[in-house]
Each structure stands twice: as structure tokens, then as C-alpha cells.
């Protein structure tokens, strides 16, 4: 029996039948032909005749296909990709991924460049996300942190959105509150701890007895405070933090019940806190109870921070309403401070401001962090655009392969899935690499971060950060993978006929990559402008006159003389003077002064000021002004000029003369010129005596370089009639010492010896140079500047690589065209200009677009700026020019190479 298959199959081949169906048809038709053959043989035909006649049944070669072409079965073939198992999505996926890995391994250079680019983008995002998560998003490390609130007041009439708590409001809210499970007060401070070895200045947390209970903190050893511990008159008790207990007592449990000399008074240690205890924005050594005397409490001092735990289900609105209800109760129950009246606070609009505790912890750092999030997001977008460009170029090279597979039956979705598997696979590799970069970057971040960045120890790569990295890797892969899919996912059979080269000659082909480059340049420009504005801010801050000169030559430290050490206020002043003279005697010291605080150290206070002859028309409460206590030598040492009059002498201070010095801006506010202010009188309370202005000095930037200078009154270190005190001395002061020996080895030790020669129980605390204090104040700006500069540099680098890549690619693609042009007489210059024009057009479009975006976006960061407008023309022009220069260089290199093409080689290459 003849074999018919070889005659049948070619006739069916063009029909794209499913192979099973094709086999059935071949079988059925073969049977027919067999029977016909048998019949012919039976009728006497020879084998040859029978064979020929049977085959005539099939007629001309195309007849069968022609008849069948209109059939459905010849038109909807199920997808077939060589070797593909059908109908199992997951199996297909793993196959896609394996295929993708194989394809990428074949081009290690391409894969490496793309993965590293992505790693930069993803790594930066992971690092910043871990910071944002650790600082802003992660719940506070307390039980049910969402029920913890910071209890503030507001006084819009005094322009104070955040006014603290007083003992009077604390007692009132604790006794009559309906919304708080409990409320507590706290303050951070410093204490001298003596009797151990060297005297030590240690950070302390002053608390009311409810605080640890509110935070749900159980002591590791011993107990926490009871109401009795917090009451005046009883024994003094202290709780130690785990760190201090380990450091000073080696973790010995025997410390419980032991006595600790704090500020000259013996405290019994009653408890040790667990190592997990963290208090927002401070790391105290000891916790000490306030021990308010309820009988002496008055309304009017708002100088304690309040924290409370809300009863379950209570909202912030309810809490605020309840506090509003209780404010008048505080005035009913407690007298006001002399000189203050209930009416003053009513006029000031004293009201509640209860807000989540997390808001207190985070502070205003959120703004910088969110801007950084946006910044690294832009870097990732640029990285995506670059990789998308690489993929486009590669997909163009693979057009024929894709067309062949489409022709073999691979469906559009199948091809798309495969392209996406490659891009997602690559993005995952980039993500893994990025994670390594991020973990290195977090270490760097922690070092760069301003001291004020809260919760910095909570920043780490944890599970959520990993999930984030995975998510953005996949998203990134889809993002840059979709561009070639949209472009080539529909690879047509036409591409099969054309050669790869002629297929990519069309200018339309460059449109996608041109758009990518334009967006890259635009995004890079935005980041460069943002960094440029930060640099301008930084320069403007450096130029601000802070109220001192050459801060690197000024050493500062704080000294505290407790009542237990020297009771008599005059004696305290005498000690201050003695220390001053001993310090002056240290070799190399130019001058010495002391003050309750120096600019930007965070120790300055505020107090209301009444000015004689100014009625503060209709207002019971006068405006609050900066408050400092000074002794001789302060202004001279700082380098702050005395504009008119004189400063205080030791005699003025010992005699407690009613004299003050004020800043220039305060003088001008009331009397137009500093000279006019001399001899005028002011006071802080109408109940107290007037004090005469004897001098006007230059302004000090107490609230930071980026804030207006605070109008300040300098009161003498020793003062009579201070609120209710007949005589008052400031027991904690900052010494300022100017010397060119600052920072040299041994100098500090000599200063310390000078202090101890007066009294060996006086520890030095907060030992810093004025320069360091100033740097601390600029820390947030510096941090933002460094981070933005890094982001902008990466953006500029990626953007330049992008434009270089496109021009170089286009040049390669147009080699033949260049060859023809040059063969027809075009000069190298003409060809070079052709490409330079292309590059400049892209750059110009990118810059124009970028400026538009920057104008819209930079307004968001105006709060970070100082002395420069978000639309500062100089920054915009300078940045645009430098970007244009870099882009020009990136264009010039491939343009020059293109213009050196040998026409003969170029033309032959394409034949």
C-alpha cells in the first residue's frame, strides 16, 4: 500500500491547523485513498496506474487548502510556542523566567549595565524608605501607641500654637478628666551625680508618678514611682535606665536600695528600667519625680510636657473638648501667678491642643523626609527610562525573532509575558543588588543624619522594607518592560520579510526613545534645581550674622551649682566670678564670659515684657521676648558688638542693680534708634520693679540661622524681685571661652582643672565649641543638601548616559545614511552638526519641560529654603546651563564618531 502522508501534509501545511486535527485529516484522507487504490487494483490497474489515479483525487496541489481555507478549524489555532506546555499558566511562567535568564546570560554586559542602573535607583529608594518607615511610619515602641497623646495647649493671642502644661493644669486634668486613663508630665534636664567617682553631668527625665504606667513600661528590677514617691516631703527616690545601670554599676542587682547623690541630695534607687525602654528624643540616665507641692501650685507657668493615655475608643476631638472644658476649672482651683490674671489667658485664647504622641516624636523632620522620598522616586524613574531605552534597542534587534515566534503561533500575550519576564527578572536582580547598596547607605545615612533626626536607632532593613523593595522591583520591571512590549509586542509578519536594519530605519522608531531621553533630562533638571536651591540656602545661612564671630575659637560648656552645694545666691555669683578668673588664667585664653544660654543651644527661654510708657493698648498680656541671664564678658567673648551704652559689671551683679541690656531689634521696635533706648525702663511683671536699659547689643539668632533674630532682653545673673522671689540667681550657666587653643589637646583638661580648682564637685556638661552648636542648627539643611546633592549627581549621571546612549544608537543605525551623505559630498562637519542638532533638540526640550515641572514642584520645598525663592532665576539659569553643557558633551562624543565613518565601509556593511 502506498504512503499518502507525504502527498497530504504539504497540501495542509499552509492552513495552520492544530497538529492533532491535521493528523486526523491525514488519517481519514489516507483511508479514502487506500480504498480507491484497492478498487482500482481490483479493476485491473497496475500499481503505478492505481497510484496515479488515486492521487488524481487530490487534484491540483492547492485545491485542498483552497477548499478548507474558509473553515474555522483552519483559522483559530491554539497558541503553540515550541516546547511550550499548554494551558498551565504557572508552568509557562517558570519557563518564561528560565528563558529570560538564558537570554540575559547571553548578554552579560547589557544585563550588568541595566542591573546596576536599577540597583542605584532601587537601592536609594529602599534606603530612604527604611528611614521614612523607621522614623515616620513605624508605630512608637509602646503598648497600643495609638492611644498615647501629647497634651498641649494653644494660645493664638500670644502666637503660640504649642503651649505646654503646668502643674495646675496637670492636677486639674488628672482629677477631673473624663477621657484620659491617666496623664503625666515630663521634662528633660540635667543633673549632677556625685559620690561615684568623678562628678558627672547626666541627662535626667523628670516625671510625675503616672508616666511609666501610661507608657506601659514595667521595671526590669524593683518598682516604678508611686503617688507617695511623687509627693513632697517624703524620701527622694530615683529609677535608673538600663544603660546607666550597666555603665555605672556594671548591672549589679545590689544597686536597688542604694543611695545616689543627685544635685547634692541623696536619692534611693528603687527600680531599673528594661533595656527596651526608649523615651522619644532623649536617652536619660535617671528618672526623678517632680514632687509638686499642690498647696503652692499656681496657674501661669506652662513649662512641662504632658503625655496621656486615652481611654479606649476616645477620639482626639473628644479629648480636646474635655480639656477645653477643664481649662476654666484650673483657674477656679488654683490662684494665678502674681502679675498674671485669668483675663490675660482668656484674651490669649488659651485652648486645648491634644495630638498624637507620634507627632511630638517626629517633629518637623517629616517634611525633609517626604521631599527625599520624592527625590529618590525621580532617580528611580530616570533609571527606569535608561533601562527602558536599553530594552527598546534590544527589542529592535530581536524583532525578527519575535516575528518568527508570532508566526509559529506564539500569541501576543505570550510574547508580552516573555518580554516582561525578562524586565522583571532583571529588576529583581537590580533590587537584590539595590538592597546591598541600601544597607550600606543606611549606615551612611545614620552618620549624616542630623542629631535631631528622631528614632534613628529604629532605622533598619526589616521585613516590611524587604517587601517594599520586592514591590518596587516588580513595579519597576513592569514599568520599563511595558515600553518595549507596547512597541514590539505586536511584531508583525511584515518584520519577517524585512531585514532588521531596514526595519529600524524609520525615524518614527526613535520617537519612543527620544521621549524617554527628554523626560530623563527634565527629571534630572528638577533634581539639580532642587539641589541648587539647597546650596543657595546653605550659602545664605552661612552669610547670616549669628551674633558672634569666629565660632571655631569659642569653647562652651555648662556648669550647674545646686542649692545643696552653695545655698546663698551671692555665693553662687562669687563662684561664677572665681571660675571666670581661673579660666582667664589658662594659657591662651583671650576672654571668658557666661550666660544662661548661647545662640542656638536650645537653652534660651521667653518671658513677657512690659515697657514703661507703652500701655500694650487693651492687652492684658504683653508680647513675650527672648530671655537670657548674663554676667560680664559674654558679649565681648562672643564678638557681639555693644552698639550704645555699656554691658554689666561684676559690681552691677553683686549689688543686684535693676539693669538690663537689650538687642538692637528690640530697641528699634520701641524707640526707632538704639541710642533712644538708653535710660528707658522695662520689667517682666507689673508686680515687680522697673529695670533700666543700660546698653544695646547686636542681634543674636537664637532660634536658628534660618529664623529671624529674636528680640531679647539680657537680665543680670543675680536679680531682685523676680516674680515671687525676692532675689534669684540662675544656677545653670554656659561659659564661653575664646582662645586660639580651642580644639588643641590638653586645652579642655586645663579648663576643667580651672573649674575644679574652685569647686571639685562641679561637672562640665555639654562641652561643645560654638562652631559645633551652629553646625547642629544647620544640620537639617546640611542633611537635606547632602542627600539631594547625591540624588542629583546620580540623576545627572544617568541622564547623561541616557542621552549618550540614544545619540550613539541612532548614529549606529544611520551608518548607511551617513555613508551615502558623505559619498554625495557631505563634510564631517555637516554630519556632526546633524547629530549635535538632534542632541541639542532633546536637551532643549528636556530643559524646557524640567523648568516647568520644577516651577510647579519646588514650591513644596519652600519651607526648607532660606534667603532664596523657590523660583530663583539665578539657580534655574545656572543649572540649565550646566545641564546643557553636560548633555552637549554626551552628544558630542557619538556625533564625532559618526562623522568619522568611512563611506565605503558604511555602504558595504549594509549590502
Amino acid at each position: 500500500m502506498p504512503e499518502w502522508t507525504e502527498h497530504l501534509r504539504p497540501r495542509l501545511a499552509g492552513l495552520r491547523l492544530n497538529p492533532e486535527r491535521e493528523a486526523e485529516i491525514v488519517e481519514e484522507l489516507s483511508q479514502h485513498l487506500d480504498q480507491r487504490y484497492d478498487e482500482l487494483r481490483a479493476g485491473g490497474a497496475t500499481t503505478g496506474e492505481a497510484h496515479r489515479l488515486a492521487l488524481e483525487e487530490l487534484r491540483e496541489p492547492e485545491a485542498l487548502a483552497q477548499q478548507m481555507r474558509s473553515l474555522r478549524q483552519a483559522h483559530i489555532p491554539p497558541p503553540i510556542t515550541p516546547g511550550a506546555p499548554t494551558g498551565r499558566a504557572l508552568a509557562g511562567l517558570s519557563q518564561d523566567l528560565r528563558y529570560a535568564a538564558r537570554m540575559l546570560r547571553k548578554q552579560p554586559g547589557f544585563a550588568a549595565v541595566a542591573a546596576v542602573t536599577l540597583a542605584l535607583g532601587i537601592g536609594a529608594n529602599t534606603a530612604i524608605f527604611s528611614v521614612v518607615y523607621g522614623v515616620l511610619l513605624k508605630p512608637l515602641p509602646f503598648h497600643e501607641p495609638e492611644r498615647l497623646v501629647a497634651v498641649w495647649h494653644r494660645a493664638p493671642g500670644l502666637n503660640m500654637p504649642l503651649l505646654e502644661q503646668g502643674a495646675a493644669t496637670y492636677f486639674t486634668y488628672r482629677e477631673s478628666g473624663r477621657v484620659f486613663e491617666d496623664i503625666a508630665l515630663w521634662n528633660i534636664g540635667e543633673v549632677s551625680i556625685t559620690g561615684l567617682s568623678e562628678p558627672e553631668r547626666a541627662p535626667a527625665l523628670f516625671v510625675t508618678d503616672g508616666l511609666l504606667g501610661i507608657l506601659r513600661v514595667q521595671p526590669l528590677l524593683g518598682r516604678s514611682f508611686t503617688k507617695e514617691d511623687d509627693a513632697p516631703g517624703g524620701p527622694l527616690r530615683a529609677v535608673l535606665t538600663h544603660g546607666y545601670w550597666k555603665r555605672r554599676f556594671g548591672g549589679a542587682p545590689g544597686v536597688l536600695g542604694r543611695s545616689l547623690i543627685v544635685d547634692g541630695r541623696p536619692y534611693e534607687v528603687i527600680g531599673i528600667l528594661p533595656p527596651s525602654f526608649k523615651f522619644p528624643r532623649t536617652d536619660p540616665a535617671v528618672l526623678l519625680p517632680f514632687r509638686f507641692n499642690r498647696a503652692e501650685v499656681r496657674v501661669g507657668d506652662f513649662s512641662y510636657r504632658g503625655v496621656a493615655r486615652l481611654k479606649p475608643g476616645v477620639t482626639l476631638e473628644q479629648a480636646n473638648a474635655d480639656v477645653a472644658r477643664m481649662i476654666p476649672l484650673a483657674f477656679d482651683r488654683f490662684p494665678t501667678w502674681p502679675g498674671l490674671t485669668r483675663k490675660m489667658f482668656e484674651e490669649a485664647g488659651l485652648g486645648p491642643n491634644v495630638r498624637p504622641l507620634s507627632q511630638d516624636v517626629i517633629g518637623d523632620v517629616g517634611r525633609v523626609l517626604w521631599i527625599l522620598v520624592g527625590t529618590v522616586g525621580i532617580v528611580l524613574l530616570i533609571a527606569c527610562a535608561n533601562v527602558a531605552n536599553l530594552f527598546l534597542a534590544r527589542a529592535e534587534g530581536r524583532q525578527q525573532e519575535l516575528a518568527v515566534r508570532t508566526a509559529l503561533g506564539a500569541s501576543r500575550s505570550r510574547i508580552a509575558r516573555e518580554l516582561l519576564s525578562e524586565s522583571v527578572g532583571l529588576a529583581l536582580a537590580g533590587g537584590a543588588l539595590g538592597l546591598l547598596l541600601a544597607s550600606a547607605g543606611i549606615g551612611l545615612l545614620a552618620r549624616l543624619a542630623p542629631a535631631g533626626l528622631p528614632r534613628i536607632d529604629e532605622i533598619r532593613i526589616d521585613l516590611l522594607v524587604l517587601v517594599f523593595t520586592l514591590a518596587i522591583s516588580v513595579l519597576t520591571g513592569l514599568l520599563f518592560g511595558l515600553i518595549p512590549v507596547m512597541r514590539f509586542g505586536t511584531a508583525s509578519v511584515v518584520a519577517l520579510k524585512e531585514s532588521a536594519r531596514s526595519a529600524s530605519d524609520a525615524p518614527a522608531r526613535y520617537r519612543g526613545r527620544n521621549a524617554l531621553v527628554v523626560s530623563e533630562i527634565a527629571l534630572a533638571l528638577v533634581l539639580l534645581i532642587v539641589s541648587g536651591l539647597m546650596i543657595r540656602t546653605f550659602i545664605a545661612l552661612r552669610r547670616v550674622d549669628p551674633g558672634f564671630v569666629r565660632p571655631n575659637e569659642v569653647q562652651t560648656f555648662r556648669v550647674s551649682i545646686s542649692g545643696a552645694l552653695i545655698k546663698d545666691p551671692q555665693g553662687v555669683v562669687a563662684a561664677y566670678e572665681q571660675i571666670t578668673h581661673r579660666l582667664e588664667g589658662v594659657h591662651g585664653v583671650v576672654s571668658v564670659g557666661l550666660s544662661s544660654s548661647v545662640p542656638m543651644d536650645g537653652n534660651s527661654g521667653k518671658t513677657p515684657i512690659f515697657v514703661e510708657g507703652f500701655s500694650e493698648a487693651g492687652r492684658a498680656m504683653p508680647p513675650v521676648r527672648g530671655y537670657k541671664r548674663v554676667a560680664p564678658g559674654y558679649f565681648e567673648t562672643m564678638g557681639n558688638p555693644v552698639l550704645v551704652g555699656r554691658t554689666m559689671t561684676w559690681t552691677d551683679i553683686y549689688q543686684a542693680r535693676p539693669l538690663v541690656v537689650i538687642t538692637e531689634n528690640l530697641a528699634r521696635e520701641y524707640w526707632k534708634t538704639p541710642a533712644e533706648a538708653l535710660g528707658k525702663r522695662i520689667t517682666q511683671s507689673r508686680e515687680n520693679r522697673w529695670r533700666e536699659i543700660i546698653g544695646v547689643v547686636g542681634n543674636e539668632r537664637d532660634d536658628g540661622l534660618d529664623h529671624a533674630a529674636t528680640a531679647t532682653v539680657y537680665w543680670p545673673m543675680l536679680i531682685t524681685e523676680w516674680w515671687t522671689e525676692p532675689i534669684d540667681v540662675d544656677r545653670t550657666v554656659t561659659y564661653v571661652i575664646r582662645s586660639d587653643r580651642v580644639g588643641s589637646p590638653g586645652f579642655l583638661r586645663e579648663l576643667q582643672q580651672a573649674v575644679w580648682s574652685v569647686n571639685p564637685n562641679l561637672p562640665l556638661a555639654n562641652v561643645r565649641t560654638l562652631d559645633e552648636i551652629q553646625a547642629g542648627s544647620m544640620a537639617q539643611t546640611s542633611f537635606a543638601l547632602v542627600m539631594l546633592a547625591i540624588a542629583a549627581t546620580v540623576a545627572l549621571l544617568l541622564g547623561s548616559v541616557g542621552i549618550y546612549g540614544v545619540i550613539a544608537y541612532v548614529a549606529t543605525q544611520r551608518t548607511r545614511e551617513i555613508g551615502i551623505r558623505m559619498a554625495l559630498g557631505a563634510q564631517t562637519g555637516d554630519v556632526r552638526r546633524l547629530f549635535l542638532r538632534h542632541g541639542l533638540l532633546l536637551t532643549g526640550a528636556g530643559i524646557a519641560l524640567g523648568i516647568g515641572v520644577a516651577l510647579a514642584l519646588t514650591r513644596v520645598m519652600s519651607a526648607l529654603l532660606f534667603g532664596v525663592s523657590p523660583t530663583d532665576p539665578l539657580t534655574y539659569v545656572a543649572v540649565a546651563m550646566s545641564l546643557a553643557t553636560v548633555a552637549f558633551s554626551a552628544t558630542y562624543l557619538p556625533a564625532r564618531r559618526a562623522s568619522r565613518v568611512d563611506p565605503i565601509v558604511a555602504l558595504r556593511a549594509d549590502v
Binding site: 486526523e24 481519514e28 484522507l29 480507491r36 485545491a63 474558509s70 473553515l71
Partner: protein, 117 residues
Amino acid sequence: MTAIDTRMLDRELKKGSAELIILSIVEARARHGYEISKLIETRSAGQLKFHVASLYPLLYRLEERGWLQGRWVEKAGLRRRRFYSLTAEGRRVLARQRDTWRTFVHAMGLVTGVDHA
């Protein structure tokens, strides 16, 4: 009279008379492709003849339309064969086409004066 020109038959296939022929052949019982072609040849006394290249595509088309149902039938010791039977829908179509054809032939007779009866 010689066998009908095959090119003409192809045209007839398109017109639908071929469909009527096939449906009629399988009306009584299921038959395989070769049997169908043989029956057409014998019943038309050799005047109608379907080639493989015409017959099978037509069978597949009728199957796709749901008028025929093809089914592989295996018999012991023999190769399996594909048998085509009339579906309910095919039966209705056949009845309708017979009517149409009858009307057509009658009309042709009246117009052309060709009397075959």
C-alpha cells in the same frame, strides 16, 4: 452524456446543491467519506463524482455548521473510520433544501421547456 464537468461542479458546491446531495446520502444512516463518494457516484449513475479535495472540506464545513456529526468508530481488527451522521439541525436543513430544490427544478422546467418527467 458525459460526466459533469468538475469545474462546474465546484461552482455548484458553492451554490449549495452539493450540500443537499451529501445531506441526502447520510439521511438514512451514518456513512464514512469513501462510502459517501461511492454512493454519490452510483446513485447518479456515474454522472456525479466528488474528489477527495472537494468532498472532505465540504464534510468538515457541514460539521462546523452543526448539520453533520463526524465520529471515529473502531471495529475489532479494523482501522478506525470516521462516520458522518445527520444531526437534528441537519435534518431540518435537508427538508428545507429539498423543498427549495423542487421549486427550483419545477420553475426551470416551466421557463426552459425542458421536461424531464
